[in-house]
Subunit: 403 residues, 2 copies
């Protein structure tokens, strides 16, 4: 049988007991005849604690040094998992990101993987050993230690799975898979057995927290099959893979929601070419991540532009936007933190017209006002009031019979 | 002015305040016109905590994985000290042992430094930066992460000072230097302004805990001047350097004591060539560190052999010794954990006869019984009862007017 990459998140290796449970599972997978390569996150809250320590020591906190500091976390869990495996008679070798050949650019804090030179990992596998790789980290082309951004141990796992030609990359976490909606809001939400990369990407982009969009994108681009599952129950979870054209596609696979964004509206924008381009270029230069953008049709030569940004970046966004509004002679800039987004995702939407209409009707029947709409071929998102978003998720879940 | 290597031990970087104080001192040294390279230990009890974690997770604890685990400690403090320096406007770059070019053999847990390829450290210095090197660690010729043994951050500092041609290697610790005796036992003990490598080596070997014998030996072999001083008071401490033939040497520089060893005696050993050799070879093969060895003159064809070993290794030593005693027809093997050693050290002893006589007379006058004696050209050690060792240190300190 082939190679399985198993990635264990922070809660999965939070303490000695959990680490031994992880080792047990790896050993069991090996007994079933699979080769296994492991990728680990830092234990529990280790990364947060290291960040707090850095804040106590320094105001400037150069990125290179923060990366040197934070990478200690995964190094610790990789070594401990390897030791726990040794107790079970499974020979294991821990590797830092650098030793595993995760070569990145030089952008500290959110480095991009340029290449995976996994020779040492491959050697370990060919010797019948289990490589245990520290996630979230790499080494830059300048030979400095880098980190790939919060939650990027998934990316390490996917990149390694791609480089090693693994059959599957298993992402172990504290939930048992991807659900049709957040089970805390919709108790009858169902775990999805399977999703396409595109669906998973849309879900991750719009609020499903189980996987980072970036790792899904990497998996799609390299054709790495993902299996999201629980390290507490060990039951089979959700498979994420290439769309299977022979299978009938669910029209709507899931409903996501997100309350982390705020809305900015610029009113009375002169309708001239290049105005919007300059605004969004300035926002990008300032590091503001703009998500949805909606521009109304022009009336009397002016238009309104609305967009959403992470609440944490709202102040910066407003500053940049107000500056521009003055220059271009717009009327006003309005900020609204009381918004949330609800999204329908489903690969079958492409071939089934009328989904959007059903969505809008369902929300209208519940008196949920829609403030912005944006769509892709397999997603429809509506911005609504934060106070109404949970009800919106519930009625849509029922309307599309997802239970 | 030249280069100063400053090494800060665990208590010197124990928390955020201490780390900022260290950064302050490094910045001040730079303002005084010196280039500075820093070597740090892990913060406070970090190493102990990581060892406890390993014990919770694993019984086998492979050496390679323990090294991977423990090296996280110095990585953390190196990054934090670099950040604290950045706050003071001092550009600093942290380096792991591997990045600093500390190349070792493959003996995990107590690797020996084979070579220091300090190119990156040198580059940082030539760019006007302060390199901050994680002590205690290196990379093996197999490209695995290694550690150099407990307390070996001093060794890292000395090796780096030698490789960089530093003017001095300052060892910052929680005491203010090397004293004529342990100040807890002899309140009037005096801090020594200066010691030769040989004296320091004998003192370290016989109980002065302020420096590891290994780092002193390395400093002597490479002619690296040491300055042992406090990171709490920052006052000048004790210089350790080449003996200066123009200076008059102190006859006795200091008195050390050590209660960590036990005595083993084999009685009625047939006085034939090779008997002792075989015993001590077997002890060495078992990893027992034999310290003092005393063999009495032979009476009626048999002799008694006594030796001391660390108390932690007593069980192993007895097992090996009893096996041999049986084979060679010795009478008995006796163990004694109630012993301690008191030592006089002084380079001037070489040219001043009668020191040993004064030592023995002083102890006799106090009714302190001497059980074993061993000497070098600059040291006299006596094994006495543990209960009497503090008194022995006190009366010898007075007899040789060390106050």
């Amino acid at each position: 049988m082939g190679l399985t990459v198993q990635k264990f998140g922070g809660t999965s290796v939070a303490d000695a007991d959990r680490i031994r449970a992880v080792a047990d599972h790896v050993a069991r997978t090996r007994r079933q005849g699979h080769d296994v390569a492991v990728v680990v996150s830092a234990m529990g809250k280790t990364t947060d604690e290291l960040i707090r320590l850095a804040q106590d020591v320094s105001v400037t906190r150069p990125g290179r040094e923060v990366d040197m500091l934070l990478t200690a976390g995964e190094r610790i869990s990789a070594a401990l998992v390897s030791m726990a495996l040794a107790d079970l008679g499974v020979m294991a070798t821990s590797f830092t990101g650098s030793q595993a050949g995760i070569i990145t650019d030089t952008t500290h804090g959110r480095a991009k993987i340029l290449e995976v030179r996994a020779d040492r990992v491959r050697d370990a596998l060919s010797q019948g050993r289990v490589p245990v790789v520290a996630g979230f980290q790499g080494v830059s082309t300048d030979r400095d230690v880098t980190t790939l951004g919060r939650g990027a141990s998934d990316t390490t796992a996917v990149a390694l799975a791609a480089a090693l030609g693994a059959e599957v990359c298993e992402i172990y976490t504290d939930v048992s898979g991807v659900f049709t909606a957040d089970p805390r809001i919709v108790p009858e939400a169902r775990r999805l057995a399977q999703l396409s990369f595109e669906e998973m990407l849309e879900m991750a982009d719009t609020g499903a927290r189980v996987l980072m969009p970036r790792s899904v994108e990497f998996a799609r681009n390299h054709g790495v099959t993902l299996h999201v599952r629980s390290s507490f129950t060990w039951e089979p979870g959700t498979w994420v893979k290439e769309e299977d054209p022979s299978m009938e596609q669910a029209i709507v696979s899931g409903i996501t929601h997100d309350t982390s964004e705020a809305k900015v509206t610029v009113t009375g924008v002169p309708d001239r070419p290049g105005i919007a381009a300059r605004l969004f270029r300035s926002l990008a230069d300032r590091g503001v991540n703009v998500d949805m953008i909606v521009q109304n049709v022009s009336i009397h030569g002016t238009t309104d532009i609305s967009f959403t940004v992470p609440k944490l970046e709202l102040d910066a966004a407003l500053e940049v936007t107000r500056e521009h509004a003055g220059e271009i002679g717009a009327n006003d800039v309005l900020a609204d933190s009381g918004v949330a987004r609800v999204s329908l995702i489903g690969a079958g939407m492409k071939t089934h017209p009328g989904i959007a209409a059903t969505m809008f009707e369902t929300l209208a029947k519940e008196n949920v006002n829609i403030e912005m709409i944006s769509t892709s071929s397999i997603r429809i998102s509506c911005v609504v009031r934060t106070a109404e978003v949970e009800r919106a998720v519930q009625v849509l879940h029922e309307a599309f019979s997802l239970s």
